[in-house]
């Protein structure tokens, strides 16, 4: 890109200002997680703790004997759920964007319409269905109902609408079937979209609170959000603990992101600048 002095400065100003806006809440939360309760209660705005302490983190691990088990449950559900979502959402999105078959339009509208019903009213019937299947307190009860996601079917459809047709045509000339084309040509090229989707779906499972709250009653089957909430209930207004617990809860996702970030960057070099 040709440098255009003034324009560049403006861009940097935007970038830096927004970076500050984004970082402040996090730095504040991180710093609070290393403060003592007394310092929190005083309410001064120093980002560097006067009395640096790791105690808050220690407390979490001491107070929660089930913590490792909850971590495992959360990771297992989120990872399996994410893989299934990536596959099924992309397949459905691709079909809606690229294939022609009867009922396509109605299916698309149906998927959109599904998004418009707030979950609060479908919660009880959903619970009854899971109960009938005997899936309460199980991993499948947590994974199967969410193994597709209307939002991301919709997102993938929008992506594939823009997808260059020529590649698929070439593939079909090579004698690949549609499924073959999809897995060998289309999916690899959709990596940026898949990476974005992977993070969001993972986040969705990772953060899901209402479903496990209702489906899971066994402490051993708890996911982290449920566990953390139990913790929060025990330590109302112990902001130092709550912030430390929140940080522990956020770490795995940051690690996941660090991993997937490569794919975002790769995406750029694939099609990108030069």
């Amino acid at each position: 890109m040709k440098k255009n002095g003034a324009g560049k400065v403006i861009l940097y100003i935007i970038l830096v200002l927004y970076a500050i806006t984004t970082l402040i809440p996090f730095l504040w939360a991180v710093s609070s997680s290393f403060k003592t309760l007394e310092e929190i209660v005083q309410g001064t705005i120093n980002f560097w703790p006067k009395d640096f302490t790791l105690d808050n983190y220690k407390q979490i691990f001491i107070q929660q004997e089930y913590f490792p088990r909850w971590l495992f449950n959360s990771l297992f559900i989120a990872i399996v759920g994410t893989i299934l979502n990536l596959l099924f959402n992309s397949m459905a999105g691709y079909a809606l964007a690229r294939l022609s078959f009867p009922g396509k339009k109605s299916l698309f509208i149906l998927i959109l319409a599904v998004l418009m019903i707030p979950a609060q009213v479908t919660m009880i019937p959903n619970f009854l269905i899971l109960k009938t299947l005997g899936w309460l307190n199980t991993y499948q009860g947590m994974i199967v109902p969410s193994m597709i996601n209307a939002t991301f079917i919709f997102m993938m459809r929008q992506f594939f609408l823009n997808f260059p047709k020529e590649l698929e045509e070439a593939a079909s000339l090579d004698g690949l079937t549609r499924l073959g084309t999809f897995f060998r040509i289309v999916l690899p090229l959709a990596k940026p979209a898949l990476a974005a989707q992977a993070i969001f779906v993972f986040m969705g499972f990772w953060n899901d609170f209402m479903r496990p709250l209702i489906v899971i009653s066994d402490v051993e089957m708890f996911t982290l959000p449920l566990g953390l909430n139990t913790f929060k209930g025990q330590f109302i207004s112990y902001w130092n603990y709550i912030m430390a617990a929140s940080m522990v809860f956020t770490m795995p996702v940051l690690i996941l992101y660090a991993f997937f970030n490569r794919y975002f960057v790769k995406g750029i070099t694939f099609t990108g600048e030069k």
């Binding site: 255009n4 324009g7 861009l11 940097y12 970038l15 970076a19 806006t21 984004t22 970082l23 809440p25 996090f26 939360a29 705005i45 596959l87 959402n89 397949m91 459905a92 079909a95 809606l96 294939l99 022609s100 078959f101 009867p102 299916l107 149906l110 998927i111 319409a113 418009m116 019903i117 707030p118 609060q120 009213v121 479908t122 919660m123 009880i124 959903n126 269905i129 199967v144 109902p145 597709i148 939002t151 929008q158 992506f159 823009n162 260059p164 499924l179 940026p192 979209a193 974005a196 969001f200 986040m203 990772w206 953060n207 929140s246 809860f249 956020t250 975002f264 960057v265 099609t271 990108g272």
Partner: protein
């Protein structure tokens, strides 16, 4: 090949539904079935506790809805919220994505920073914000430092809803930014090359190349924004301890639905009716959006 071409349509049907099968299965069992049940409920007076009893009431629930003042307030609050938050977050997301994609130095760093809110659970974000919004919290202290008055962000009805709006724009814009970024990477370079030859500067390229190229994605972002904001629940539930107060200032439609559905199980049918009406409102908003950006055809 030739043989198959004869049964082309049948092949296509099979093919289409093979791709759609998992989605259809889950939709049918875990989403459509509960929604049908909710529709059924909306025409009844329901008592689910102690052995379900359904008492058919026709359109009764819907008629009552028209006279419900709180429902009107909730709808009005929600609409205010949608009208401000959706454009703001879409624009912010687009600008941030385009800026990040401009190939400036240090772009990687900014990208990581910007993703942070997206990577943090909304429950955690709400906690962080509640704490910053505290009367003695960071925001009031910062405002005080530059000589502005602080607010009781959580307790004052005049600022409670804007406080939620600010927080939501801040936390959802990066989500949509990520989607824009992924989409920006799919725009072929040749398009930009052509614009460059025509002597377009950064902003011209942004406006005349990037924005039109991103239309399907923008349509996605706006529709998802509409759906998400119309269903605002978590924040107003946490901020108002579930009441929607003070003086209904943080009452949203979904919070009201929740109150009817759970605080008292005898109003489950009424809650279902309200949910259906909300779905229709969202549907209309979505259709309007599609009318306005008529570029996109079902293909």
């Amino acid at each position: 090949m030739k043989k198959e071409r004869k049964k082309y349509t049948l092949y296509e049907i099979g093919q289409g539904y093979t791709f759609m099968l998992p989605a259809i299965f889950v939709l049918a069992v875990f989403i459509i079935a509960p929604i049908l049940y909710a529709i059924f409920l909306s025409f009844h007076k329901v008592e689910l506790l102690g052995g379900p009893s359904y008492d058919f009431r026709g359109l009764d629930n819907f008629v009552k809805l028209m006279e419900d003042d709180r429902a009107k307030i909730a709808l009005w609050n929600t609409i205010k919220y949608v009208v401000i938050v959706v454009p703001a977050q879409t624009l912010l997301a687009l600008v941030l994505a385009a800026t990040l994609n401009a190939g400036l130095k240090g772009e990687k760093f900014f990208r990581i920073v910007y993703f942070l809110p997206t990577l943090t659970s909304s429950a955690v974000l709400t906690l962080i914000f509640m704490w910053m919004y505290n009367q003695n919290g960071l925001i009031n202290k910062l405002l005080g430092m530059i000589g502005l008055p602080g607010y009781n962000w959580l307790g004052d009805p005049n600022v409670a809803l804007p406080a939620i709006m600010i927080m939501n724009i801040w936390s959802t814009a990066p989500f949509f930014m990520t989607i824009y970024l992924a989409a920006l990477q799919d725009i072929p370079d040749s398009v930009y090359e052509a614009a460059k030859i025509d002597g377009a500067n950064f902003w011209q390229k942004f406006w005349y190349v990037t924005v039109p190229q991103l239309k399907p994605v923008t349509s996605f972002v706006v529709i998802m924004g509409l759906i998400g904001t119309f269903q605002l629940f978590d924040q107003s539930y946490i901020f108002s301890k579930g009441t929607g107060g003070p003086n209904n200032s943080t009452l949203t439609v979904v919070l009201l639905i929740y109150q009817y559905a759970f605080k008292n199980l005898g109003t489950m049918g009424y809650a279902a009716a309200m949910a259906l009406v909300l779905a229709i409102v969202i549907l209309i908003a979505t259709l309007l959006q599609r009318k306005f950006s008529k570029e996109e055809t079902l293909h």
